[in-house]
């Protein structure tokens, strides 16, 4: 390549106009057009030591795929991605790239890193447009049968990897639609559902059977998956699906939602189309969302799209400590979200019909660092104030759903109810049972759930092929 003057900043992502997009559910980021993608790819200096790869939990060969984009070999780039990541269109959109691959990019030391995530998204979308398919022929059938519980990113990755290896895989999903948080949590404007569906169709083409409406622990227990249905191994990827509410007065008033409920009503049940669809959501005119993570951002931005005139985000620390991706915080502010920092709710106040009228908050100051290393918020006596709102949404973290743990007594869990599994293999202490994703780690990221799925697939494959499962310890893999 001819030496050129290095472009110091990322090529900007074309976005929908903030005023317009705050009122519709169309995707906010529009994606790179071809020439812009090629231009961005040309910024990559093809470092010999490939530091970016180590930042990617599934170790995509980043320099290779970027080189292919720069040379306009988009099909090759797509194959490079698919070799490592079965959901590139999803990860290119929702990965916290700034903390992962892009954080390690050499260019980032002095300038802005290469826009790896945007390029990944570009390749995946381009591949869809011109209908490249991943045509790696699957291995001959092995006759082994594996059950996957939950169809979030962890479950989808395990299923794809095992199917490619020739195993017969069945996914059991509690809800009526597969995809986990990708379909019920992350909104359409950040991750169009058609993209998730496309990736799941790819899985079906690999021969994976998806049984929706099957709640494991209820429809079948984990043990029955072995004894009644004859599976030889089970992977549990049920996510972190138990909402938490703080212990403050007024938590059960009408208009108080968990982010899970608010987002599920909107995303999975399409409440924004009500009454064309049948499940409503309260359309608050003044909405307060409590929290500072991606979930909180998604909820507060959804409230604008459902018609809120004021959308407040209440967070007990400062912007610097917010766990949400910087880009999402910026997008939220551009759309008109009002961020109230250093405050936390102490009570929710009702009108005469038991509906939310206001949220009472107390001001915080940052004190000493806590266990997480972040400075912990300290309430300031006498600093309470009331904010008039008609909806309050809590996005303050999630616990582990108890359905499987309650019906599988010999599956050890930690004190938070998360399944204990080996990090390298996903093996649990119950023979033939593997686990990964948020149910093991607590709420994390799409790509880390996928990474766990990938490692578990390798271990499950070894487990199935072991001459005799007796005495075999998958932790040895």
């Amino acid at each position: 390549m001819a030496k050129k003057i290095l472009q110091k900043t990322k090529n900007p992502m074309p976005l929908q106009d903030p005023v317009e997009r705050a009122r519709n559910f169309e995707e906010v980021a529009l994606g790179y057009p071809v020439d812009l993608a090629v231009l961005e790819a040309q910024r990559c200096i093809q470092c010999k030591n490939e530091p970016c790869i180590a930042g990617c939990p599934v170790e995509i060969d980043i320099p290779e795929f970027i080189r292919q984009v720069a040379e306009r070999d988009f099909e090759g780039a797509f194959r490079t991605l698919m070799d490592r990541n079965v959901l590139p269109a999803v990860c290119g959109r929702v990965c916290p790239q700034e903390e992962q691959c892009e954080a390690r990019c050499t260019l980032g030391v002095k300038f802005e890193p290469v826009a790896i995530g945007r390029l990944e998204r570009f390749v995946a979308d381009y591949a869809n447009l011109v209908k490249f398919t991943d045509d790696t022929p699957p291995q001959p059938p092995t006759g082994h049968r594996v059950a996957v519980v939950g169809s979030g990113p962890a479950g989808l990755t395990v299923a794809a990897d095992l199917a490619k290896l020739g195993h017969q895989v069945t996914i059991f999903e509690a809800l009526h639609k597969a995809g986990g948080v990708l379909v019920y949590g992350i909104p359409e404007f950040r991750l169009p559902k058609s993209i998730v569906e496309r990736e799941i169709d790819g899985l079906r083409r690999l021969g994976v059977e998806i049984r929706t409406n099957h709640v494991i622990g209820q429809t079948f227990t984990v043990d029955e998956l072995f004894t009644e249905l004859g599976f030889e191994a089970v992977f549990i990827g049920t996510g972190a699906g138990l909402p938490s509410f703080p212990r403050i007065p007024g938590i059960n008033l009408i208009g108080v939602y968990s982010a899970n409920e608010y987002l599920t009503r909107s995303n999975l049940m399409k409440a924004y189309l009500f009454p064309a669809t049948d499940t409503p959501a309260i359309r608050g005119r003044r909405v307060a969302v409590i929290g500072g993570g991606n979930t909180a951002m998604d909820a507060v931005r959804t409230s604008l799209r459902l018609g809120a005139e004021h959308a407040y985000l209440i967070y007990r620390r400062t912007r610097k400590e917010m766990p949400a991706r910087a880009e999402e915080i910026e997008h939220a502010e551009e759309e008109g979200v009002e961020i109230i920092m250093l405050a936390a709710p102490t009570a929710i106040l009702a009108d005469e019909r038991a509906r939310v009228r206001a949220v009472r908050c107390i001001r915080m100051e940052l004190g000493e660092p806590d266990a997480s290393g972040r400075r912990s918020p300290v309430p300031q006596a006498g600093s309470e104030f009331d904010l008039d709102v008609d909806i309050v949404v809590f996005a303050i973290g999630q616990g582990a759903n108890p359905l499987i743990r309650n019906t599988t007594p010999d599956l050890p869990v930690n004190k938070w109810g998360n399944i204990i599994a080996d990090e390298g293999t996903g093996a649990t202490q119950k023979a033939g049972v593997f686990a990964g994703g948020d149910i093991v780690t607590g709420g994390a990221t799409v790509i880390s759930a996928m990474g766990a799925g990938r490692r578990a697939a390798r271990a499950i494959d070894a487990y199935l092929r072991a001459p005799s499962s007796d005495g075999f310890s998958p932790t040895d893999v």
């Binding site: 209820q218 049940m269 019909r353 759903n401």
Partner: protein, 282 residues
């Protein structure tokens, strides 16, 4: 997709369906429910499993048409397919052998107490059933309950069938008569459950109620079905649906059931207009 095997009208706007769902029929225990959708874009409707037929691989649900979703379901016919059925959900009834139980069902509540009555009877209990309705036509499952229960008392508000009065009147009469119960199970409209609970509270008579808050996923993921029981927050879909009636905050539950009243009314109106326009009975 699960096929409707049969349809039978039990009362005005109350329909019994048998729906093919072998894996649910196999696992279900008394007290559990399903979540069903009739069409894409439709609600996830929670419905108690009234009965199962393992030979046919089917479950029965008894549905009262109160809003758009339940009316849409009740307009379906044998041979039609619903979109999906998930279950069995919730915890089964806490059954103990040899108990003397009074099962009180108000209106559609009879459909929920019927499987519970069967469960206690199967464990050699003595079961007395009280079922009631506003008028004769609205009393359901009398024949079925007579087949399982040791004694059945029917009440109607207007006296058109059985004794005139409320189910609580009948319960008080039975207690006055000297019937002894280890437990009362009461299911029906909230005011009825509240009234039963107030009859039994002074007697310290254990009273189980089955709650029907608004649900979404039915798997413990959303928290929308939460109610206060004994001052603690419970998720009805995974911790219930049955709870100690003396501990339930009915006032809160009743308020929460009204969360979407205006939206529901608008949705029903739209649906009925569409049906009229299509020349179908509303």
């Amino acid at each position: 997709m699960p096929r409707i095997l049969s349809k039978e009208i039990l009362a005005p706007d109350v329909v019994r369906f048998w729906i093919e769902s072998p894996h649910i029929a196999r696992k279900r225990k008394p007290g559990q429910f399903v979540i069903l959708r009739t069409a894409e874009g439709g609600e996830r409707i929670p419905l108690t499993i009234a009965d199962v037929d393992r030979a046919r691989g089917a479950v029965s649900v008894i549905v009262q048409g109160v809003g758009k979703s339940t009316r849409q379901l009740n307009a379906m016919d044998a041979g039609d397919e619903v979109l999906d059925v998930a279950g069995p959900l919730g915890r089964p009834t806490d059954l103990h052998p040899g108990r003397r139980v009074c099962c009180v069902g108000g209106g559609i509540g009879a459909a929920v107490v019927y499987p519970i009555a069967c469960g206690f009877k199967a464990l050699h209990g003595r079961v007395v059933a009280i079922i009631g309705g506003r008028t004769k036509d609205l009393v359901i499952l009398e024949r079925e309950l007579r087949e399982v229960a040791d004694r059945v008392v029917v009440t109607t508000d207007d006296g058109s069938h059985g004794t005139k009065g409320l189910v609580t009147d009948a319960l008080q009469a039975l207690l006055a008569e000297g019937e002894v119960f280890d437990e009362v199970v009461a299911v029906g409209p909230l005011p009825m459950m509240r009234a039963v609970v107030e009859v039994t509270r002074p007697l310290g008579l254990r009273t189980t109620v089955s709650l029907n808050p608004i649900m979404l996923d039915g798997t413990g993921m959303c928290g929308g079905c939460r109610v206060s029981v004994g001052g603690e927050q419970k998720y009805v879909c995974v911790d219930g649906p049955e709870f100690d009636g003396h501990q339930v905050d009915f006032e809160e539950l009743s308020a929460r059931l009204g969360a979407y009243r205006e939206d529901e009314a608008a949705s029903l109106l739209l649906y009925e207009r569409e049906r009229l326009a299509a020349g179908e009975p509303a």
